[in-house]
């Protein structure tokens, strides 16, 4: 995976922000994300020809849902790591490594972006 061109301190202070095109439904503790597919002409044609759905559904587990809910543009990555660390009794490194990896995955799928002091990447 491509590495983020930012240092660790900046990354921890960055504020993850959800993609506004994505909707989700709450199934108690877990979430189902509905990701709309591309609306370009070729992709519409593909969908028409092969019957592909209009949106992609992604199921998040309990921990993933908690992180997703915290990605509201107000909490920094550091806040999310700290919250996960305290709630699940993890060490700093355990919480940080797993949360950063998860955020990277969400970013690679364009589900979230990072707001770095007003700059979005």
């Amino acid at each position: 995976m491509k590495k983020l061109p930012i240092d660790r301190k900046t990354l921890l202070n960055a504020k993850p922000l959800r993609n506004t095109l994505i909707t989700w439904e709450d199934n108690g503790e877990e979430l189902n994300l509905h990701v709309p597919m591309k609306k370009s002409k070729p992709s519409r044609l593909w969908r028409f020809l092969f019957g592909f759905p209009e949106q992609k559904n992604i199921h998040l587990d309990l921990l993933g849902s908690e992180v997703w809910k915290m990605c509201n543009g107000k909490n920094s990555v550091q806040d999310i790591v700290k919250s996960i660390q305290e709630r699940y009794n993890l060490s700093r490194k355990e919480a940080e490594v797993s949360t950063l990896e998860y955020l990277r995955k969400l970013m690679s799928k364009h589900l979230i972006g990072l707001n770095i002091t007003g700059r979005k990447i």
Partner: protein, 278 residues
């Protein structure tokens, strides 16, 4: 400031709570580990058995020269600090300064026969001496009463010193150690898995254990002791193996972690502190 214990290959030291293991290398004979505070390396420990022709004075001077070579405009002095650190061993404490401050020690322990180098870095130069002295006074490089304490992240356990670590895997939230006895026949494996409460929401401990070990279980028993759910079992590691191994897995609701120990008499050999006792 809160402190916690770090232990690796017989070397134990107490460090501030947010200093955690960042790298490990080598074995009991020769190796190194380092701790960081999330931003930079704070402690480095290195150990080795010395060569037969060994002079402590020469080693200290060589070490001092190495520190001077490494940094620009570095001033390195051998300092005398009131400490009981050198009881029964020979060595020196070096204090060095440039844009950051640091203390290094080199010591030779007669009991374990290893030369150990300890380096503590202070990028912000705050309370450096006090913190260093606390670390130094807690520092030990050999097993006590025949047992070695292993302490990394949130896993603390003690093992007999004759058990040799043959492998370890330090993934975030999934730590595994494998030890072998002196004869090289018996093996013990210990795993600690974080987020046990989430894992056990989907399946019971017994089902999780069976999935994890992947072997054929012949005997099993479930028990509850001190609010901890235990699963005892005997299993065959390999399909055509003639020997059976014992295993225990349990869930600690306080630390929210699952522990799994497999091997012969594993429970008697390893003493595991599954949660912090204050």
């Amino acid at each position: 400031m809160n402190w916690k214990l770090t232990g690796w290959e017989g070397i134990n030291l107490s460090v501030p709570e947010d200093w955690e293991l960042s790298s490990v290398d080598g074995n009991r004979e020769k190796g190194t580990f380092s701790l960081d505070d999330g931003y930079s390396i704070r402690v480095e420990v290195e150990w080795e058995y010395p060569k037969s022709t060994f002079s402590m004075e020469k080693l200290i001077e060589k070490y001092r020269q190495e520190i001077i070579k490494k940094g620009k405009n570095i001033k390195c002095n051998i300092v005398k600090i009131k400490t009981n650190f050198f009881k029964g061993k020979s060595g020196a404490i070096l204090h060095w300064k440039n844009h950051e401050e640091g203390y290094s020690t080199v010591s030779y322990c007669k009991k374990c026969g290893r030369v150990v180098f300890l380096r503590v870095y202070f990028p912000e130069k705050k309370h450096s001496k006090e913190i260093f002295l606390c670390i130094l006074n807690s520092f030990s490089e050999h097993a006590e009463k025949g047992r070695e304490i292993w302490a990394i992240y949130k896993l603390i356990f003690s093992a007999p010193e004759n058990l040799k670590r043959i492998s370890s895997s330090l993934k975030a939230g999934d730590i595994t150690f494998t030890f072998q006895d002196e004869k090289g026949k018996g093996e013990i494996t210990l795993s600690q898995i974080a987020l046990g409460n989430i894992i056990l929401r989907q399946q019971p401990l017994s089902a999780w254990t069976k999935e994890r070990i992947g072997g054929k279980i012949i005997e099993e028993k479930q028990e509850e002791r001190n609010n901890h759910a235990y699963f005892f079992f005997r299993y065959k590691k390999k399909a055509f193996s003639r020997t059976w191994e014992n295993g225990i897995s349990w869930y600690c609701p306080i630390s929210q972690r699952i522990f799994l120990v497999t091997g012969n008499n594993a429970s008697d050999l390893l003493k595991i502190y599954c949660h912090e006792t204050k």
